[in-house]
Amino acid sequence: MAVIDTHRSPATTASVEAATPGWMQRIHPAAWLVAVILLIMPLLVNDFILFQIFSWSFILGMISLSLMFLGGYGGMVSVAQMTIAGFAGYMVAIFGVSGIGAVSLGWPWWLAAPMAIVLATLFGTITGALAVRTEGIYTIMITLAIAAAFFYFVNQNYAIFNGHTGISSVATPKFWDVDWRAPVPFYYVTLGFAALSLWAVSYLARAPFGLALQGLRDNPRRMAALGFNVNAHRVAAYVFASIIASVAGILLVWSNGQISPGTVSVDAAIDILVIAVVGGMSRPIGPFIGALIYVILRTFALDFLVAVGLDGNRFRLLVGFGFLVIVFWSPDGVTGLWQRWRNRGQDSRNTAPRGGGHG
């Protein structure tokens, strides 16, 4: 292939061998410890914590991860990830079995779920195709517009989406004599999908597709000057992110047993962005940490506020305050996010010998 190659000495073979560890991901001992703790978690905590804290965190973390993949690696902040997840959730409720016989088609879950993933991925791809022609703040605006439009549509459409009431009593999978929505099985299902998507995103980051995405984040014009089709690559990133978001959306509906316009509201869409920002956009693990913080705040803020003599309904105040504190302590804050993505990895520089040997 490369013309230049044939003119160079073969002395570089050794350096190729030496480069091998750089291309592989080393797993930190702490990661093993966390994995073991997560696996034995049902022995350590009660069903409420398993279902309301961990499963919910894994699901929100996955939706947020799809945003991190687009934003952290691709430089595209899509606020529509919750909408794509919610679209998948609606589809599984509409195609599957629910308490609203007028809108649900009654397919078994193993047909309804793949159908929902396909349709939501298609929806996410169209969203991406619209958004990739814009940059920065305009990407946020166009995806926000899509999120808002979808919310108002499902809120007013009764024929398909059952309007403001939404779709309740959505049937959840039961097979092999297991109710997969019971806290312990559902914990392992959500843990499994969260781990799978975390691994997939980490793996892809070092594959040509993911590397090219990071190249697009750093310098789209140069990527075109290296032979990459910038828009096609960006749309492909939306396809991948949509798959993760739709799986999470289906899990969310199974977790709640229902879906309504509130699930895909603009508030919910922004919560996903807050989770990703709080957790950190530069690493795939960030969204899961952000989701855990968010879920803990949301679950316990009410009790905490009442305990200190404030109105318990002001839990969002506490969430917002937590967000402010974290963003304030990260030196660039929300306005400097763009810059932070560009300088991603500064704090994790490897210990390769410093240059300076040049010239």
Binding site: A2, A19, G227, F228
Partner: protein, 260 residues
């Protein structure tokens, strides 16, 4: 020089690059006016001219970053006037940028690997490359060719200016380039680094042609066999380096008479 290339161009075929009547307007401003330019395969040419002469706009039109307002661009006989940049690159065109256009969040090797990947199959590959991957090998070779092997795993944002300029060149050499556009590769380099640059340019295989924009005449005139002078968006003189250097009109306009 190459007699085959000369014969081919004599019958009007096989030009590496052929611009006919290329004009580029920015509103009322004509950045390029009626540029007609022919570059033979393997030819090395300098484009000289003062700031605002339209040199970089010319590059942008050739690579497709800007579409010309009128005129046609042919690359190895093929009309690429309306092609997007990536299609031109895949046909063997390359460029470097006046201000380094690299990927600061990625390592040196990853930068070059992306360049190699961009002009081959598998741009969307979901599989990580193995150490024996031909493109990883090619990237390692290119990193070595521009003397950056010792720091190949470092992030580009940590590189010195001179190292970034060298990496710029490595990105342009990826794959099978047939014509490279160098936009002021020597800008900001130390004398030692300039000598190294001249070495790298002179040691390119003979079939790779290039067009170089360069203000440093000591670099430019040592690595080319023909020179195009531009002024106010027009070509106003073409010739061999010696002719251009001694041309009184050129001296007055561009060299200010004091070059020596």
């Amino acid at each position: 020089m190459d007699s085959v290339a000369q014969r081919l161009s004599a019958v009007g075929a096989g030009n590496a690059l052929e611009l006919r009547g290329v004009t580029r307007l920015f509103g009322a401003l004509a950045a390029l006016t009626d540029i007609t330019l022919t570059v033979r395969p393997g030819e090395r040419r300098a484009v000289l001219g003062s700031n605002g002469a339209g040199k970089t706009t010319l590059f942008n039109c050739v690579t497709g970053d800007f579409l010309p307002t009128s005129g046609t661009i042919r690359f190895f006989g093929e009309d690429v006037t309306a092609f997007p940049p990536h299609e031109r690159i895949r046909r063997g065109l390359r460029r470097t940028y006046q201000i380094s256009a690299l990927f600061p969040g990625l390592s040196v090797l990853d930068n070059v690997y992306l360049a190699c990947r961009g002009v081959s199959r598998g741009r969307f590959s979901l599989i990580r490359p193995s150490a024996k991957d031909a493109l990883v090998y090619a990237a390692e070779n290119l990193v070595q060719a521009v003397h950056l092997s010792a720091i190949k795993d470092q992030l580009v944002s940590e590189l010195s200016y001179g190292q970034q300029r060298q990496l710029e060149i490595a990105l342009a050499l990826a794959g099978a380039p047939r014509l490279i556009l160098f936009d002021e590769p020597a800008a900001g380099l130390s004398p030692t680094e300039r000598a190294e640059l001249v070495d790298i340019l002179s040691s390119l295989p003979a079939h790779i042609g290039y067009i170089i924009i360069e203000h440093d005449m000591d670099v430019a005139l040592r690595v080319v066999e023909s020179v195009t002078m531009m002024h106010n968006g027009r070509i106003f003189k073409e010739g061999a380096p010696q002719e251009i250097e001694s041309d009184p009109e050129v001296q007055e306009l561009y060299l200010g008479g004091g070059h020596g």
